[in-house]
């Protein structure tokens, strides 16, 4: 009797959690188990995984507000990233250094993110039902537009512009001397030779995650969830649907901007031009792997998803390389991340929103 109950429980858990996620989790687990046997240092791998987790999780968090308000997956994340890039380049242009430059980048990025998010939200309100496709192309066209702007905007800081002409920003700009590793090194815990826990970065994420969690439980946040789950009901209870949706889009865009700044301080480079082009897809698939769907997402989904996705990205190259002497990580990344998005888009229960 007990056994049957347990089996049922497992079955319903598997159903809720979704087979693809279980397969991915098992795959990651097997990679970690295999790692020591093929000569991959598990401490380095874990350290890398945590590092990548910290780098990416705020961009994944940026999916949450828009999913809550029923705007779907934020394929327009590059727009937020561009706001972040503007903040970063402006901060460097005014020659702020060290930790200050990071704070100033955040400060500069915020008004852009709010402005872009507002316009983007207005646009999405006019195309209800077709948000995701349009979001994708808003992201793409804004990146392409900014490609022209990076060439034309009058930046002068010699570390950023092309050396021989003195104008036009470089494709990659080093954050060294500015905010390289300001969060990574903050209170970082070093255990042994190979393991470093990036405390500052994880704490920074924790602050954001807590903030979003608190927001979602506030009056405005509850209204947002109501708009997403049942807009007729929301309208009946006197919620301004369009305004709430715009707020969620602004929030998502702003989180995207903050996310890319955290990414840069760890990665060490500001990537301009086509850099942000495909950055939405890893973030989208990460939150989906974490158990979110097109219209439901939580902070837990963000944490679990980012950890699983980034774990696979870190582990596959090293482990696979040692096992079969080939680097198939790129192919696995493409198949896993897009497969996950496909799975979420084709769920029957969610298709009739």
């Amino acid at each position: 009797m007990e056994n049957i109950k347990l089996a049922d429980k497992i079955k319903s858990f598997a159903h809720d959690f979704g087979w693809p996620r279980i397969i991915i989790a098992l795959f990651l687990l097997s990679l970690f188990i295999m790692a020591p046997f093929v000569g991959v240092n598990i401490n380095t791998s874990l350290s890398d995984t945590f590092n990548r987790f910290g780098m990416n999780c705020i961009m994944v968090l940026a999916m949450v507000p828009m999913i809550h308000s029923g705007c779907g997956l934020n394929f327009g994340l590059p727009l937020g990233i561009i706001a972040g890039l503007l903040g970063a380049t402006l901060s460097l242009e005014f020659n702020f250094v060290g930790g200050q430059s990071f704070l100033m980048a955040m400060a500069f990025a915020t008004p852009f993110a709010v402005l872009f998010g507002w316009a983007y939200g207005k646009l999405l309100n006019r195309v209800k039902g077709g948000e995701m496709m349009i979001a994708t192309y808003v992201g793409f066209s804004s990146v392409a537009f900014m490609c022209m702007m990076w060439l034309l905007l009058p930046f002068t800081n010699p570390t950023m512009v092309w050396g021989y002409t003195g104008k036009g920003l470089r494709t990659t700009i080093s954050t060294e001397g500015y905010y390289l590793h300001v969060l990574n090194d903050f209170l970082a815990i070093r255990i042994g030779e190979h393991f470093v826990f990036p405390t500052g970065m994880v704490l920074f994420f924790a602050v954001f995650a807590l903030g979003i969690w608190a927001f979602l439980h506030s009056k405005k946040g509850t209204a947002m969830t109501a708009v997403g789950s049942n807009s007729v009901f929301a309208r009946a209870s006197g919620i301004d649907i369009d305004k709430t949706r715009i707020l969620s889009v602004i929030l998502s865009t702003w989180l995207g901007a903050m996310g890319i700044l955290v990414y840069q301080q760890s990665f060490g480079f500001i990537q301009l031009y086509m850099g942000p082009f495909f950055m939405a897809l890893p973030a989208v698939s990460a939150i989906l792997i974490g158990g979110a769907s097109v219209n439901k997402a939580s902070i837990t989904n963000v944490i679990v998803g980012t950890f699983l996705f980034q774990g696979i990205l870190t582990m596959t190259p090293s482990v696979m390389n040692s096992v079969i002497q080939t680097d198939m990580s790129e192919v696995i990344r493409i198949v896993v991340s897009n497969g996950m998005i496909l799975y979420a888009l084709t769920r029957k229960t969610e298709a009739t929103r």
Partner: protein, 371 residues
């Protein structure tokens, strides 16, 4: 009388905003680039012969109400696989092209079936799903071509294979079939070469599409495109019809890719197909098509305008700002911008129509209540 004509012109512009915008861009770009008319016309003719077949593949899914088929890249992959095989077997000329097409068709059918089935599970968001499916299948394609070919799938020709012993090289030289179709019948007018045979082949597809619209299946597709529920009530197998439309589109795209590549002459094994979907979709939208309505005229107008912009913008950018790079970014921006704008306009129009219909229904009901 005058007012009406002004209104009708305004409506014409509003309904074809993207096309009008493109005419304006080209109108500015052509004098700025400083290219001669002869150069531009021959450039356009090459591009019509190269791209129209691919773009024609988009028509049938639009008819079936499935939107712009971003999944056409699946067909492009099938075409490329066919080309890799014929290059490996050292076959040249027209037989090679025909054989490549024969190889590509079953792969296209298989991939089209898969795409159709997946899209049936994602009704209402076909476009974004097909788009992601394109990315997903790109991963699978890489798995097959980069790891499978030469190890599991036998490839004899060592010049095709990477030095490590398996996987196809980044570029495959299609010297054997290079322009084999284009050079069969060549007409030359004022020094402008016209690849007549390619145009005949494109003409055949156009005739096929016109004929297909009139068949039972074509009529069914239009019914499904109008309203799935009504079509199902009328006894049409909705899901099957939708799958067939995607399969046809994929097969046409596969053949189109082979024609496209025989004109270019080299295959970028891992890149050629990735941009095709975006460029084809942008071109048909520039020609005045929308997500739910497109005809053969849109295809050709679209190819001409879109590629005119493509040819002139780097030079125009160089002459205007002094940087050709700017023109190149500009054309990328315009390609994406056009798609964004068309999609937004389509969604807004749909919303407005729904509103008008709802109002009408309300009025009608109000009238009947009063009676």
């Amino acid at each position: 009388m005058k007012k009406i004509t002004f209104k009708s012109i305004k409506k014409l512009i509003a309904n074809n905003l993207v096309t009008v915008l493109f005419l304006v861009i080209c109108g500015f770009g052509i004098p700025l680039s400083g290219y001669s008319a002869n150069f531009l016309i021959s450039g356009i003719i090459v591009r019509i012969s190269r791209n129209s077949f691919l773009i024609l593949s988009l028509l049938i899914p639009i008819m079936a109400g499935m939107g712009l088929n971003f999944g056409m890249v699946l067909g492009a992959m099938a075409g490329q696989i066919g080309l890799i095989f014929v290059t490996d077997w050292n076959i040249v000329g027209i037989p090679a092209m025909v054989l490549a097409i024969i190889i590509s068709i079953p792969i296209s059918i298989l991939l089209g079936q898969l795409c159709g089935r997946i899209l049936n599970k994602a009704k209402g968001r076909e476009m974004v799903t097909a788009y992601i499916l394109g990315f997903f299948m790109n991963g699978v394609y890489q798995l097959v071509v980069l790891y499978g070919m030469g190890s599991i799938i036998p490839i004899k020709n060592t010049s095709l294979v990477l030095p490590r012993g398996y996987g196809i090289r980044n570029t495959v030289n299609l010297i054997g079939i290079r322009q084999s179709l284009d050079s069969i019948f060549n007409l030359s007018i004022f020094g402008i070469k016209i690849p007549l045979m390619t145009f005949i082949v494109i003409g055949v597809v156009c005739v096929f599409i016109v004929w297909f619209r009139k068949t039972k299946l074509g009529q069914d597709m239009r019914a499904v495109g109008q309203d799935m529920d009504v079509a199902a009530a009328a006894g049409i197998q909705v899901e099957h019809t939708r799958i067939v439309s995607i399969v046809i589109s994929t097969v046409v795209a596969g053949i189109g890719m082979i024609i496209y590549l025989q004109n270019i002459g080299t295959l970028n094994t891992y890149n050629s197909h990735t941009q095709i979907g975006m460029f084809s979709v942008a071109a048909i939208l520039v020609g005045g098509a929308s997500v739910s309505k497109a005809n053969i005229g849109n295809v050709f107008l679209g190819v001409i305008l879109f590629h005119l912009m493509f040819i002139v913008s780097p030079m125009a950018g160089k002459n205007l700002i002094g940087q050709a790079q700017l023109g190149e970014y500009f054309r990328v921006f315009v390609s994406y911008g056009v798609i964004t704008m068309s999609l937004v306009l389509y969604e807004m129009r749909k919303k407005r129509e729904n509103l008008v219909n709802a109002e009408k229904l309300k009025d009608d009901q109000g009238d009947s209540n009063e009676n």
